[in-house]
């Protein structure tokens, strides 16, 4: 069944969109990832204009994060104070990102910028995940005692000014690092249409030293508002959010997430993680190769004033 997308102005198969939403939903159910970093490149591959793909991807992340954060709020695993500090940085970053996005659009380089960021970040994350899951498998084989994670290390981070108490995380640190993390994630949200959890979660654990149990909930809390702001700004300045597209992706994602969560309980996480790592690397490779080999058509057409 073909469906005409009013903003993207292309006609695509509705089941394919539902399928992409579903596939990414399954993955997010399995691994607890937002999935924005997979949805946006998949939309490129089926011919959705990159600007629409990024803006609509951000909208889809809002939906999946809302459904995730509610469970965490109930379990009280959200550090509100830290969330707000990260959010302040996130909003600044998102505004910067939108400004850069629109500037690059006018210069005709936005497609390249989006693709390059995807190649770099997906490649990096894929490699890290691959290495991590190999190590996890090796650890499971050895079945030794769980290595203790050192917290409360006194890094350079702890010597900065503007200290603040974060009771839920049990931290007393400067607000500068979380604001900077927030800014980085906000820029990524605006340019790539992702939530940025894959950057924020490791940064919260290793850089800020937050306890693991509040990391996911707090990052989801921040992601909702940053991607929400990003969606709004894209809709407002570029008119590039396609509601029809978003709706199909969200529907597919909702169903997929349920399936994924059920499967996730039964399957072996380490091996699945390797599969996800390979998938991420595959997408990065495809995008990278597209940049390296000579395109069949060197010319491209776009509406003047729009990318």
């Amino acid at each position: 069944m073909q469906i005409y997308l009013p903003i993207a102005e292309v006609s695509v198969n509705a089941f394919m969109l539902f399928g992409i939403g579903g596939l990414v939903g399954v993955l997010s159910g399995l691994f607890g990832v937002g999935g924005g970093f997979l949805i946006t490149p998949l939309l490129f591959f089926i011919g959705i204009p990159p600007t629409v793909a990024v803006a609509t991807g951000a909208n889809q992340v809002v939906a999946s994060s809302v459904s995730g954060v509610l469970a965490h709020l109930k379990r009280r695993t959200v550090d509100m104070r830290m969330g707000v500090v990260l959010l302040v940085g996130g909003l600044i970053g998102s505004a910067l990102g939108i400004w850069a996005f629109n500037l690059l659009s006018r210069l005709g380089q936005i497609d390249l910028a989006v693709q390059l960021s995807y190649v770099v970040f997906l490649g990096l994350i894929g490699l890290l995940m691959f290495q991590e899951s190999l190590r996890a498998i090796a650890r499971a084989r050895k079945a030794g005692p769980h290595p203790s994670v050192k917290r409360h290390q006194h890094l350079w981070v702890h010597r900065l000014p503007f200290k603040m108490k974060f009771r839920a995380s049990g931290l007393y640190i400067s607000v500068i690092p979380p604001v900077l993390v927030g800014i980085a994630v906000g820029v990524l949200a605006a340019i790539m249409g992702v939530g940025g959890g894959f950057i924020m979660v490791p940064a919260m654990i290793y850089l800020l030293g937050m306890p693991t149990k509040v990391v996911i909930g707090t990052s989801l809390f921040q992601i909702i508002f940053v991607t929400g702001f990003t969606t709004f700004m894209h809709a407002w300045t570029n008119r590039s959010v396609d509601l029809m597209l978003a709706l199909l992706l969200i529907l597919g994602g909702v169903v997929g997430a349920q399936v994924g969560t059920r499967f996730g309980a039964r399957l072996k996480a380490e091996q699945l993680r390797i599969l996800l790592a390979l998938l991420v690397l595959g997408v990065a490779l495809k995008l990278g190769v597209d940049l390296l080999i000579e395109p069949r058509e060197l010319y491209s057409i776009s509406a003047a004033g729009r990318p």
Partner: protein
């Protein structure tokens, strides 16, 4: 048959150069609605030749039908290799290029239409595009217009269908024009051109109104005219869907 009989009877009489031929034209539909499940449309274009004098017998009557979508300014960009990757490095702004352009004819275009007439009336695809100005600072601007035509031909947006207009008894003609799924809304100018001896003897035009309707219309208008409200709506839907999903999931697990 009567027309043919009339023709035969008048064969001996030398025909006037301008036979006073006129086109009476019609379309299978004057408006096309882009709905949510729109995936292209077939347009039947038909018409008749009206004469106040018998048709001249010394030349063949030919018909060209063109359908032209709304024109918008566009940017054509060219990639070249920089730092090992392919980057857009040059661009040409084209002031006006139709979003869609289809030409259907009764015969090979170069045999039924003279160059000068094509130049004047902008009938063939290249003439239609070349009629727009290109900037002077890029030396090989023709390469960009050629690329524009090539890319749009590959997408089915520009096309030439020679010999697809059926002309019966030198009077009635009809052709089908395929409108693709990736149609842009606007007024589609349709020209009906009669030719003799490679010259245009009559021409008329009409328009097809292509419009988004229903939900598509509403969403598009809202996004364009009230982007802030549209953004809020997008967020509300996402938040609602996320909340509904988590609630449904909890009920499913508990129940």
């Amino acid at each position: 048959m009567r027309v043919a009989a009339l023709l035969l009877a008048l064969l001996a009489v030398p025909a006037p150069v301008a036979a006073g031929e006129e086109v009476v034209a019609g379309l299978s539909r004057s408006a096309i609605s882009i709905t949510a499940n729109f995936d292209g449309s077939d347009l039947i274009v038909y018409g008749a030749v009206k004469r106040d004098a018998p048709a001249p017998s010394d030349s063949r009557l030919e018909v060209i039908v063109t359908v032209e979508g709304p024109s918008t300014p566009i940017t054509v960009r060219r990639k070249s290799r920089a730092f090992g990757i392919w980057v857009n490095t040059a661009s040409v702004e084209v002031d006006r290029a139709p979003s869609f352009y289809a030409v259907a004819t009764t015969g090979p275009l170069d045999q039924i239409l003279s160059q000068t007439e094509d130049l004047r009336r902008k009938i063939s695809v290249p003439q239609m595009i070349r009629s727009v100005g290109a900037p002077q600072d890029i030396a090989d601007s023709p390469a960009f217009t050629e690329a524009l035509i090539r890319v749009r031909e590959a997408n089915g947006l520009y096309s030439l269908h020679e010999g697809t207009v059926n002309l019966a008894e030198d009077t009635l003609f009809r052709t089908d024009v395929d409108l693709p799924a990736n149609l842009v809304e606007g007024d589609y100018r349709t020209r009906f051109i009669l030719l003799r001896d490679r010259h245009v003897v009559a021409m008329t035009e009409t328009a097809i109104y292509v419009r988004k309707v229903g939900l598509e219309r509403w969403l598009y208008d809202l996004a364009q005219r009230q982007p802030a409200a549209y953004g809020v709506l997008a967020l509300a839907i996402a938040a609602l869907a996320g909340w509904a999903a988590s609630t449904a999931f909890r009920l499913l697990r508990n129940g």
